[in-house]
Point group: D2
Amino acid sequence: MKNLSIVALLHGPDRPGLVANVAGWIFQNGGNILHADQHRDEEEQVFFQRVEWSHPGSGDVVQAVAATFVAMARNDLKMECRIAVSNESSRVGVLVSKIPHCLRDIAFRFRQDEMRGHIACVISNHRDVESFCASVDLPFHHIPVDALGKSDAERAQLEIMRKYGVNLIVLARYMQVLSGDFIEAARIPIINIHHSFLPAFAGGRPYHQAYARGVKIIGATAHYVTAELDQGPIIAQDVAHISHRHSVDDLVRKGRDLEEIVFAQAIRWHLEHRVLVYKNKTVVFD
Amino acid sequence: MKNLSIVALLHGPDRPGLVANVAGWIFQNGGNILHADQHRDEEEQVFFQRVEWSHPGSGDVVQAVAATFVAMARNDLKMECRIAVSNESSRVGVLVSKIPHCLRDIAFRFRQDEMRGHIACVISNHRDVESFCASVDLPFHHIPVDALGKSDAERAQLEIMRKYGVNLIVLARYMQVLSGDFIEAARIPIINIHHSFLPAFAGGRPYHQAYARGVKIIGATAHYVTAELDQGPIIAQDVAHISHRHSVDDLVRKGRDLEEIVFAQAIRWHLEHRVLVYKNKTVVFD
Amino acid sequence: MKNLSIVALLHGPDRPGLVANVAGWIFQNGGNILHADQHRDEEEQVFFQRVEWSHPGSGDVVQAVAATFVAMARNDLKMECRIAVSNESSRVGVLVSKIPHCLRDIAFRFRQDEMRGHIACVISNHRDVESFCASVDLPFHHIPVDALGKSDAERAQLEIMRKYGVNLIVLARYMQVLSGDFIEAARIPIINIHHSFLPAFAGGRPYHQAYARGVKIIGATAHYVTAELDQGPIIAQDVAHISHRHSVDDLVRKGRDLEEIVFAQAIRWHLEHRVLVYKNKTVVFD
Amino acid sequence: MKNLSIVALLHGPDRPGLVANVAGWIFQNGGNILHADQHRDEEEQVFFQRVEWSHPGSGDVVQAVAATFVAMARNDLKMECRIAVSNESSRVGVLVSKIPHCLRDIAFRFRQDEMRGHIACVISNHRDVESFCASVDLPFHHIPVDALGKSDAERAQLEIMRKYGVNLIVLARYMQVLSGDFIEAARIPIINIHHSFLPAFAGGRPYHQAYARGVKIIGATAHYVTAELDQGPIIAQDVAHISHRHSVDDLVRKGRDLEEIVFAQAIRWHLEHRVLVYKNKTVVFD
């Protein structure tokens, strides 16, 4: 049988010997480092590390090793530490409105094992994606936000997420703004996808605005959701070149393609424990 | 001897027969169409055309043909029309502060005939690029904006531009804001280059802000200068992907590379009469 | 009711007056040009044009106008001409083996009206995509090439394609080489998608070869199928940057994303009559 | 005064404890790790590491530390090891023919401190770049390869390189094929830049071939020179999208822009000791 593996994401004030301490501890505790990536933020003097190691022990043994490592990192190295063991499963909860493409795209990526874990449930304020969910065996829940009121609806959403043991929420074109209460109560990361423009536009119908302004580049940004709308730490971004020959419909279509790829990229990196958040920015160990 | 050619840039309300009228006129007046590109803005119902044709006549004859065409376009077709004949020379005036890379880049591109026309003069509020100008035989003028005051300095700049017969001003990293008076009095197009970010940042030291925000993409935008700062019609844009591994210095360096390429692209398209401006956006017939 | 429109794709030896002749004819025959794009190959002295015009007549009238235009183009202008009227439907036949992603991607794009026309039938030498086809209501036919032998299998494939009135065949990761006989007998365009590398690799398992060679860029190319394997006219290409951090699995996944986007792009352009083939190269009026 | 730093590039068969051993040794020998990046080739089971650490000692002390590290790596860890101390200077020798753009580009990048080290000398088989070299104070040597014969010319080139203490040779559009004897006798890395196409082309005038084939993407590749022409380990690659609207001249110009950027990128990475070569591929710790 294949050995289990542990991933640790660490960060904290830089000081001599950190790499040696971490690597030495892992070696002395029976592990073999598979990947290790470090980064030092020169402006902030902060040290970041992602280290992944295999361990020959059973599930219980490896969980114990992981817990001991976290304690060591916090107490001895004074580092923040998040950890994951490869026998833990990722359960993703999806919030979506009417537009199906991002949901559909990740559904197939999970199915063909491009992404670790699985989609545990899909919740929507509309019924548009219900039949798609049925066709690919995804549990679907309809929570009509407008009818229930936002705060009751959010309570119901969280209850469903908890029932399925969801540990990551993703907003696959969810057109409602989540309240600060929801974000706080959820206590798990939330990933959102939205379009981006050079220059930026405020207000509605952004592709129409971009067309009217004659922008030559459109983009998509995936980020963690924070209380400040669309201002959370950026995980992934990509762009496409456009010209006056592209109609508003072309912009929308190219935007959709970008959204799918950037959204899937961000979720994949998160599920592989490659994303470290520090002061509203990310370090992505890709 | 090679025939002279004429480029016309037209735009106006769309109506049946425009393409036929233009093409028919050119054919009946002894021309042969080399390139023609049309565009119809579906949102605005406006028709745009760039048409380039050769004519076997002498310089005087071709100038007369061009003038007649403009009159026909305005009077018969009710179109706005700009025209250029291939024996007219483009004379570019450069405004630059201390950072030399954009100036240096276009200087070599003009020299190796990547760009039509030539640099007529370089004006700076500092002396940093003076020796470079000497080494490549470009007339250099020092106008100390702070010492003279902006309005006297701008008057002096315009006088020099006029003396050299400049018909395009380019801002090769010119760190002063041009006054609305200057822009109006110049009566010739002005092209600027600046960095762009996803998301956008206000205020100084943008690369430091981008680093602090953890952006994954940086960009550069070339645009025509209007009275509203950095809000003029966009001509060209490009981007580069970055990661946490890039320091602020790396961002600055990658930004410089982008600025050079986007700035040169915009100037080249302008000098080849490929850029049509309409309502603060451009149609670029590339 | 909206007017019908006609698209003509023309090419032939350049000579004075072509644009005027075409535009004049359309105007005199009651049409209004919506888009026109010309290109002149300076090396070959060949003129290319895509012109799209609307006409107020009924279906029969517009078909007659289109037929008259073709005759005029061939006889009077000595140009090759292909024509399409907007009331004609595109029926796409898909050949696919086991890998489903390209089929699935275009199925959803047709369904959300990103592409003109529809998928008429899916034929595979395996049964892997059968249940997917059922879930999205696409007629599926299993033709076991190995069991039947290539020439009988190809005859059966062509018969099915004809039964559905297919006018474009697309190879959505079809892992069999089509015979020259099939290509000739089909008499309709065939579009293929394959991966591309810098530098190129011969032989099997290309992603493993690319990994072993340490390439920094992988790509995908969509092209028309000709008798010479993978050497037909290129319609669309795109690339992604990779590094040593990407495993072979990452390369395969990124390759899949590229294949979907490039394949869909090529099919969309073909169905919008934007692709003109000349001497094993394409002119794409995008 | 700022501490000196050491960069080590290591590779060899993977086994448990390598990261711990390296980090532990550095810590125990008075160093502080600034950056460390590891990679494990899953196909080859080879471990790669780039580790950079600062040391408070004087120049002689740090050189001794570096030498001891190399001995430890080779004897105790059984790893190949290359090392560089930050007080050692990089001296680059340039071979160039007539086309100046790559030479000019790196000359300015070295001058504005984008690249570590400096250009020690420029050798050409023509006199075209002589005056440029004079204008930026670079020693120029003319070695007429055709007149002297290749083997005498190469001997003269190597002699000059040695006189200047060159430790990296770069081919800035050098249109002669270096002999296997030269490559072997030089005993220092040689970096070349060349254009790349999808698909690849053999033979002369590649941009004309690419135009004739209607390729949609052109690229540039920088690689280390080996005895097999243009087949050495790839360091950097980039591409640009093109269309039928681009003439052969446009392709050449876009190719030049790509060549400059890719060439400079490869040289920068090499001079920062970020490139590890293994079995004709590179691991670039960017």
